[in-house]
């Protein structure tokens, strides 16, 4: 059994308009997605801005009221609040937030911030608690000086580490990492990613790693889901996604990874423009008449893509030829 099973999850936000403030329409932030996260793995969720990644992540930790569908954790549907509190769900499932500054209360000292989940879920003595906080700071590579400081006294990278320390404080099974490094510069990104991996090895944590950047996801994730306008357009292993992408949206995201090799800049640019051209011209092939993604079709045991069956098979066999 998977650690977390997400089934046909939908999160719609009502749009209220008019004099009576009636619900006239809804934003379909997440519109029927299904995937599983295995214990100990890092699952990548990738998509451009506004595709509903954060909303998905927040639903999984129980911050968002879901419209329909289910999220099973150890076989229990945790979209219901009663089930979450019965399981002490957030002791096992924590979140690292996208915006590290806004996720740390500016009025609280670091000690109180990191100890917050400990105080609620584990009832430690004062000294045990302080010791645990110091150990956590040590694990994420911060000095003990940090203990009595406030969040604004730290750099972005350090703040993100504090966020990580808080998330691992109760030794959870799953951490939702919502673009944990998007706001950091490249060298700091690498540092933070490395110690996230280290923590994963040492504590056996699973991550749901949310990002808009396939370049970063490549270093972290074994399985990846590509999200577009609230739906999944492609699911596969790292190899499936990077070497045999089928959906045009995936190809577009891949083309957007910056090329570091200067000699190949021109070639890279040309291929990016080619993909962009196909994306513009072949909307009708890849999306249905409402501009929405098709249901997922399985093309191999690990690989699914949101295309009509015939096209999916055709593209898959083309990919196969290229590889042969």
């Amino acid at each position: 059994m998977s650690l977390v099973e997400i089934k046909d999850l939908k999160v719609h936000y009502p749009i209220r308009t008019g004099f009576w403030n009636r619900i006239t329409d809804s934003v379909r932030a997440v519109d029927g997605i299904t995937f599983n996260i295995e214990a100990g793995e890092t699952y990548g969720l990738v998509g451009e801005s506004g595709s509903g990644k954060s909303t998905t992540g927040k639903s999984v930790v129980g911050l968002e009221k879901v419209t329909s569908g289910s999220i099973l954790y150890k076989g229990v549907d945790i979209t219901k609040k009663a089930n979450r509190s019965r399981l002490d769900y957030n002791r096992d499932v924590q979140m690292i937030f996208q915006d590290s500054l806004s996720s740390l209360n500016p009025r609280k000292r670091i000690e109180d911030i990191i100890a917050e989940p400990l105080r609620n879920f584990e009832h430690l003595s004062k000294d045990e608690e302080k010791l645990r906080v110091l150990q956590l700071l040590d694990i994420v590579g911060l000095d003990a000086d940090a203990l009595y400081k406030y969040p604004h006294q730290f750099s972005g990278g350090q703040r993100q580490r504090i966020g990580v320390a808080r998330a691992v404080a109760t030794n959870p099974k799953l951490i939702i990492a919502d673009e944990p490094v998007s706001a950091l510069d490249l060298s700091v990104q690498a540092q933070v990613l490395n110690f996230m991996k280290k923590i994963q090895r040492e504590f056996g944590i699973s991550y749901l790693f949310i990002s808009h950047d396939l370049g970063v996801v490549r270093h972290m994730c074994n399985n990846i889901a590509i999200m577009n306008r609230g739906r999944l357009v492609e699911i596969g292993t790292r190899d499936d996604i990077y070497n045999h992408p089928l959906h045009i949206y995936t190809k577009r995201l891949l083309a957007a990874i910056p090329e570091t090799n200067v000699n190949q800049r021109m070639a890279h640019r040309a291929s990016r423009l080619a993909v962009e051209k196909i994306y513009q011209e072949q909307q009708s092939k890849y999306y249905d008449e409402n501009g929405e993604a098709f249901p997922l079709i399985q093309v191999s045991p690990t690989h699914s893509v949101a295309l009509p069956e015939t096209i999916a098979k055709q593209l898959a066999s083309q990919e196969g030829e290229v590889q042969a």
Binding site: L63, F97, S102, L104, N105, K108, L134, Q135, I139
Partner: protein
Amino acid sequence: MAENFEQHSDVSATDLARLTQEAQAEATPSTAKIIWSEFKADKPAMAALFIIVGFILFVMIGALFINTPKMMETNIMAYFNQPFTADFWLGADSGGRSVAKQLIVGSRNSIGIAIGLTIISSTFGICWGLISGYFNGYIDWGMQRVYDFMMMLPMTMMIIVLVTIIPHYNSVTLTLIFSIFYWEGTSRLIRSRTLAESEKDYVAASKTSGTSNWKIIFREIMPNISSLIIVDCTLSFAENIGVETGLSYLGFGLPAQTPSLGTMIANANDPNNITQYWWTWLPAALEIIILCLSISYIGQVLRRAADASQRQGAAD
């Protein structure tokens, strides 16, 4: 579980005392220290603080030594006594009552009412606004309808009616009556900030850390809007001195036998008093001006202390 952390970190129980000490050396100063250094950096505000605190202490203690009913007895011999005499420092009014003593007791009454009113109405308004803003949805909707209803009532008229129909009222009942009508502004202000604050990720982080809603409201969100609360409270305090004074001036505040700043300023209703017997009303009027100015100075400093980017003090 704890072993897990022991294994992966070099920190162990033996380091606890040393590391705590190191951290303490680097600790950021406490809020009280920051506020104090802010006052030290701003001389006029410091003066204002001393004036306010000194004055309030003086009238609170001084009033204890004055026998009010006796003081309010009419004394024909002292009819409009000149000020700056041995018995009457600030002269006497038409009833021959000492203006200086009335000023002390009156200030005590007016400031007492203003403090009481500020505490009750602000506490209520803050709680109302926080709860309404945090729990969106039906709770907010219901609370806002109550707010709208209260705003619809003509406040001054209602107070006057209530004061007229309640037979025996004193400072306490008056404070309570005022409180019914003075929490709305605060609650609306606090609600709008709470709405914005509730959207921030630290609130979400507290929720996933298992903190209860009430704790989130009062321990997480409230400290973050403290600068707004402080400013609003100081402004309300200045305003509330005016509320009681204004109504007493109109004759609907405290009864005539209970001196207050308002009843004293009401002496200025008589054209004779304005021109000839200025000492009957001028001290009270000056006092209100000085009090309100000082309070607003103090409010500014508190706001700066609460808002790290505006600080002038050396600490931090």
